[in-house]
């Protein structure tokens, strides 16, 4: 066949292509970051990045699950909360840590073990929830799995309360908060650097996994068209399970970080921070991995800014204002798909 005759068909709209990969949102975020640096000052700026990193890690799970099965997994915040308690258990009951570790080797050892165990346990928890709570409802009306997710959220919260009680519990801060380093005249905690670097590495790893590997491609095609993906030979159940495994493991990592940074955790964490992470996912454009990561950092900025100017009690309200404003004016989020399923 000759390819020239095909040009008789309508040409794809270049605008759609360009708008999709537009630099607008990135410029907006860059500008916002610079403004934030001067508004907050270096110290609070680093604090906001750290808190934002935690939200971002949790937001990834929301967005991945929504991307692949269009479920707002309201239990995800509680999976993160369980992660913080699993890391507490690993640190105190398995490793016997009570506070800052005495030397670097111990710190590395304790962190590696805690991250590995917590991420594995929480990853498996996520897969289990999907297998028994969501998979049977996969072809049910959308409301059914949504309500189930809320139910799972209550179950996780209450089980943790049953074991650890409702009050906040102190966690060992393996990296001493007093350990600081001077960068360009600004004293920054090693813990902040550790958290930001860890979170960003995990996000880049995820991005590479999803965009470059065969399994990642299978995930994206399942998200795009489940039936067509199965016609390509993709095992849909397995792919969805892998998505839950990764999303939950990242929430587990966020749980570890939460304990390390704040020094205490509570069973209400899933509800409080979980909803903020959800907001981050919506802000970034639910279903979009880059968007969720950036949304997380933005929520961190909003919260720290509010607190910094003496409106700490309003910090949560500010976050939810953003949720509402996003849903009203730009429901697809900053990085949402502008392009329809078929051009």
């Amino acid at each position: 066949m000759t390819s020239s005759t095909v040009t008789a068909e309508a040409r794809p709209n270049r605008f759609l292509v360009a708008r999709r990969s537009g630099v607008g949102p990135y410029l907006f975020i860059l500008a916002l970051t610079v403004v934030m640096y001067f508004v907050l000052g270096p110290k609070q700026f680093v604090n906001a990045l750290t808190i934002g990193a935690i939200y971002a890690l949790v937001a990834l799970g929301y967005t991945m699950v929504y991307g692949i099965i269009e479920l707002i997994n309201f239990a995800h915040g509680d999976v993160f909360m369980v992660g913080s308690f699993v890391s507490l258990f690993v640190l105190t009951n398995i490793l016997g840590a009570t506070g800052p570790a005495p030397d670097l080797a111990t710190i590395v050892y304790q962190l590696v073990v805690t991250f590995a165990l917590t991420m594995s346990v929480v990853g498996v928890l996520g897969v289990t929830i999907e297998r028994f709570a969501y998979r049977p409802l996969r072809n049910a009306p959308r409301l059914a799995p949504l309500i189930t997710a809320i139910g799972i959220s209550f179950i996780l919260q209450n089980v943790v309360q049953l074991i650890y009680g409702p009050s906040p519990i102190n966690t060992p801060q393996v990296i001493p908060p007093s350990a600081r380093v001077d960068i360009a005249g600004v004293s920054i905690g090693w813990i902040n650097i550790f958290i930001i670097v860890t979170a960003i590495s995990l996000m880049f790893g995820l991005q590479l996994f999803v965009s470059r590997t065969k399994v990642g491609r299978a995930m994206r095609s399942t998200a795009s068209d489940r039936e067509a993906a199965s016609l390509m030979g993709v095992d849909i159940n397995r792919t969805i399970a892998i998505t839950f495994l990764i999303g939950s493991a990242l929430a587990g990592a966020a749980g570890v970080v939460q304990g390390l940074y704040f020094g205490n955790i509570t069973s209400a964490l899933g509800f409080q921070s979980g909803l903020k992470a959800f907001t981050a996912a919506v802000l970034g454009g639910i279903g979009n991995i880059t968007g969720a990561a950036i949304g997380g950092f933005m929520i961190g900025f909003v919260e720290v800014t509010a607190a910094n100017f003496g409106f700490f009690v309003w910090a949560q309200a500010a976050v939810f204002m953003i949720l509402i404003v996003t849903l009203v004016f730009r429901p697809s989020g900053l990085f949402g798909q502008q392009l329809g399923e078929r051009a």
């Binding site: 066949m1 095909v6 068909e9 095609s221 016609l231 399923e341």
Partner: protein, 244 residues
Amino acid sequence: MTAERMIGDVVLELRDVQTYYGKIHALQGITAEVRAGEIVTLIGSNGAGKTTTLKTISGLLHPRSGSVHFEGRDVSRTSAHRLVRDGISHAPEGRRIFSRLTVLENLQMGGYTQSSKDVAANIEHVFELFPRLQERSGQKGGTLSGGEQQMLAIGRALMTRPKVLLLDEPSLGLSPILIQQIFGIIREINAQGTTILLVEQNASQALDVADRGYVLQTGRVILSDDAKVLAANDDVRRAYLGEI
């Protein structure tokens, strides 16, 4: 038709297949067979059960009674993602391109069950068949024109070098000149040794390219014969070829 075409044994057989969509009795006992090397077409009006038949063969749906046999093996209960490995490829109705994946990634998905070495070779093969796809390989599937999407859908289904290719309405929504091209491609694919089961609204084109045909009506086979005989049949001409 090229002279070297060889029609072999039955590769695909449907025995009194009954498939339901929930409570809707979509297939009410379809019996049909496809021999290796053939082009067989299913024609019929909307809702006759053509698409449902293809979905039942490829494992997207399972028959409630009756059975589907592929190379002599009962595959009625085998899921779609396994049948791809066995050699059945299904290019579904509406093309179903992964719109957010590039053309190249769509083809790589088509070769999901293949080794990376085979994927590279098969992409070459698809690009030979559809040079236009090579020009567009970095572009997102959703930005292609309808004709290009149909080429991608067929190319993607060919990535596994299937024994049987199921094509559902490949001419839907295309201009007459593109329809001619697509049917030319279907002949070419078949000449290279792929058995084809073709579902079409465009009955005259389908019967022109096919060896044999089945006429479906409300989930039943009402006629089956050589394509030429069907094309000359008065009832078929009246009902499906638009002649009064």
